[in-house]
Amino acid sequence: MLKKSGLWIVTLMILASMILSACGGGEPAAPAEEPAAPAEEPAAPAEEDGGCAAVALGDGDYARIYELADYEAMAGCTMSFSGNPDMADLNGQIGNNPELPPVEERVPAEPLVVVPYEAVGQYGGTFHATSNATESGTSDFLAVRHVNFVRYSDDYVTIEPNIAKSWEWNDDFTEVTFHLREGHKWSDGAPFTSADVAFWMNEIVLNTDIYENTPSWVQFGDGTMTVEVIDDTTVKFVFPVPTPGIVSFFATSFRQPFQPKHFFDKKVADGMDFVEAVTLYYGLSDWTDVPSPLLGEKADDVKPTLESHILVEETTEGRHFVANPYFFMVDTAGNQLPYINEQDEIYVPDAEVRNLKITNGEVDYKVQSISIIDYPLYKDHEADGDYTVDLGSGVGANLFYGFNLTHEDEGLREIFMDLRFRQAMSIAIDRDEIVELIYLGQATPMQATPADGNTVNFVTEEHKNAFIEYDLAGANALLDEMGLVDVDGDGLRERADGSPLAIELQYSTQSGPAQIQELVKSYWDAAGVATTLKEVTSDEYRERGTTNGADVVTWLYDATTGPVIVLDTAMLLPPFGYAFNPGMAYGWEEWHNTDGASGIEPPADVQELYDLVAEFLQYPLGSAESDAVGAKIVDIHVDNLLKIGIAGNIQMPIIHTNRLHNFGPYTVVSYDYYRVYPMIPAEWYFSE
């Protein structure tokens, strides 16, 4: 690596001397020493300058980001900016972008200063990513270029500024005011202002020609969130009920609360229908990665972005991105981020082909769609593929089994509703064996909880350990007690009326390897409950699950982490699921939605959940009130064993090539924190 880094050293020296001249003073000879030990000196080049060296981590409001003014004040120097030398070329690739102004005019007047993890990087290179398909398995790579108002920092607790410079709440958490950056520009150079935020909300989200029904994610209590523009850089969100969780939403959601008003205004001025323009350029899917107008050449441009890279080419094989010339972050040396020139994403639908690409070192970074079961394979090829594979904790990754408590077959419903049945099914599972065979020992047997214990305070050991001890005799005793006995002597139990008892377990391998299902089947068969397995596609699984057609649903218990449940109550309330992760109590949901006119009446304690959850949403996460109410919610879930969990703290492989630097201490693998977004991937750079 040292041999190859010759060019890098030269670049660093140039960069360093630029800072030196900018901040004045310092010893010109020093920078040559720097590249030898970049990891130990995060703010390296700045440190060469007497004044700037005063900035130590922790002095600012946040661990590793600063507002420019704060940074300059602490460092006692005036930062001057430099940009990617290839930017004119890259800008030429972006649709109808105008000529490139100098870098000083491209970065905001108030840029975000990022302290790199390892070192100030060098520009250039193409980042290689794989997704499964246009809209499948893409969040991994989306997160690399993603921006939003705020983000979770790499401690996964603190929320820190990003697009928004700062924000403040009123006393009762019904109004939050975001302050945007002075001089922030879209990727085409047009100013980004609070009008773009209001435009997103008022013209798109609330436009009934676009969304026939107002989306649930802007509805709180009995009303809708509203957006007020205070001035160009100040925008206020007003909620009908206390909604402290919205900041978590803006830290973790793929939905960006701003759209380029000037772009759509121009399209309308050019004679395009507004709704048509929104449909074409914004897309109306549930997901953000909808095919762009470039695919199929419906248009030769895409809407401008605030993200670190912008789409310039799209085919059915993949997508290509180049760096955003107006990106709002700079490093401590005043270099505009991102460092990486281009990003190339290809679709690889086959998991084994993806594995081969990874082991050949052809994928620069990957955490999604790979699993611990392939860890030995990745580890074997670490050296020849020139990449590193680490393990990180997956949160919200506990596989669960939820029996359909509102099953259309009354006999089955009665059986599933019997708590003894769910307890028996839980203790019939040998979790230690699953952990060893499937998770290679890298997980902890754990009961399912609607809040992930690693991300909230109110999940106790009692919750996690409820009914997880393997006890086949106990399971048999409970089932016998229910009157489910083996009448015909085939080793399998019949229903109390003598008709056969059979459970069909439909699963998709997207939720985990099929072997887990084979093991679970064997445990339940051993307890005398005939279980048949059927592998289906995830679409088929979801279709069947959300239409109340499943006997038992099984998926990863996602949408259960702190930042999600403070806002999104899908997992807390019937049907205990959502479109991507079907629940198992649709009859209860219907009963509630129709005020008891149709559907199935839930038990009394489940009905209590509605009030408890409404209360839970009113408190900021981590407050004493929040923890008290949260504990009650988890109590009801676990006491009823609404879902049966297998294991938590599951370790997941994290792969990145060795040429990728500033990768950061990636410790939590979760979509709920928007994967790599907390790590600020704009600072990633290549050493070659």
Binding site: A351, E352, N355, L356, T359, I372, I373, D374, Y375, P376, L377, K379, D380, E433, E436, L437, L440, G441, Q442, P500, A502, E504, Q515, E518, L519, K521, S522, T532, L533, K534, E535, V536
Partner: protein
Amino acid sequence: MTPTDLSPKETQAPINQMESEEAQRYYSATQFQLIWWRFRKHRLAQVGAIILITMAVIGLFAEFFGPYTGTTRVSDAVLVRPQAPQFCNDDGCTLRPFIPGVISERNPETLRMETKIDPSVRRDIYFFVEGEEYKLLGKFKTNIHFFGLKEGSIHLFGTDSLGRDIFSRVLLATRTSLSIGIFGVVIAFVLALVIGGVAGYFGGGLDYAIQRLTEIVRVIPVIPLYMGLAAAFPKEWSSTQVYFAMTLVLALVGWPTLARRIRGKLLSLRGEDYVIAANLAGAGPSRIIGRHLLPAFMSYIIVDLVISFPFMLLSETALSFVGLGLRPPTVSWGVLLQDAQTVRAIEQAPWLFIPAIFVVVAVLSFTVLGDGLRDAADPYQVSG
């Protein structure tokens, strides 16, 4: 040996030199005897037949020949390598085969299961040992296995990632796959013979109706049909029922091609003099088709039949994949190979591919057997 090897020179020579008694025997032999004699000369075909019979026998008695059931998990033998029985170690040689002590351990760094062999431990292999209880031929309860250990576990083909013995699973899979292939082919064959024979012999309006029916069956897209049936199969069905249903489905979509060919052949043959002669002699249609027409192109039918076998095998695999197919704990070669089609298996557990050898051997055996049968059944072989 290929058909050209049995050139007239070669086959006629013995006849010319035959003693009169032997010649007598030859000319008075039935067709079956003639086929048998010719088949006896086809060594390769006999090898194929012997292999297939062996497979059928071990498949039939899979629980007896396999030391474990297909779903038994041995927790301290996960992903162990195949073990070869040996007679000698450092202490000398014995008549009784044994294997060294084997245990699987997870490498703490790579998390890979590694097979640790302890040569100091000797595990004797016994024959007709008591093991897990099973029902021989589905009827007789017993716990005697052909071979096994009294202590520890033996895995001739290694184990999979859940610690299941691949040898035992392959034997069980052999039964499933072979029987699906054979039953499927046989049912399709009978259907094709009857339908194609009737259509070809009678012709006219009946032929027209049957041809349209054949076309209807042929234009049904197979995968959607399978998927539709998969949804229609009741979930209470046991794996045995699913298995029979599958065989039937395979057969019901498998007959039209052969039926078409038989019909075409019969259409051209039914005007031959010997058919007319048989007709005049008062033979009924079934006798004429069965005795006079079909044997005329028996060799062709045999080739077609044999080609169908690998097709049935592959169809079974495809069906298992779309969910209509076999479900655990039933295993077939296709199901076993599905476990093996990962990069992980290729690199770190290549023994999961052992079932593929069985597929290749079975398909090859059927091919050479078919080749030999074709030669043997060819009525023009001797005279030609």
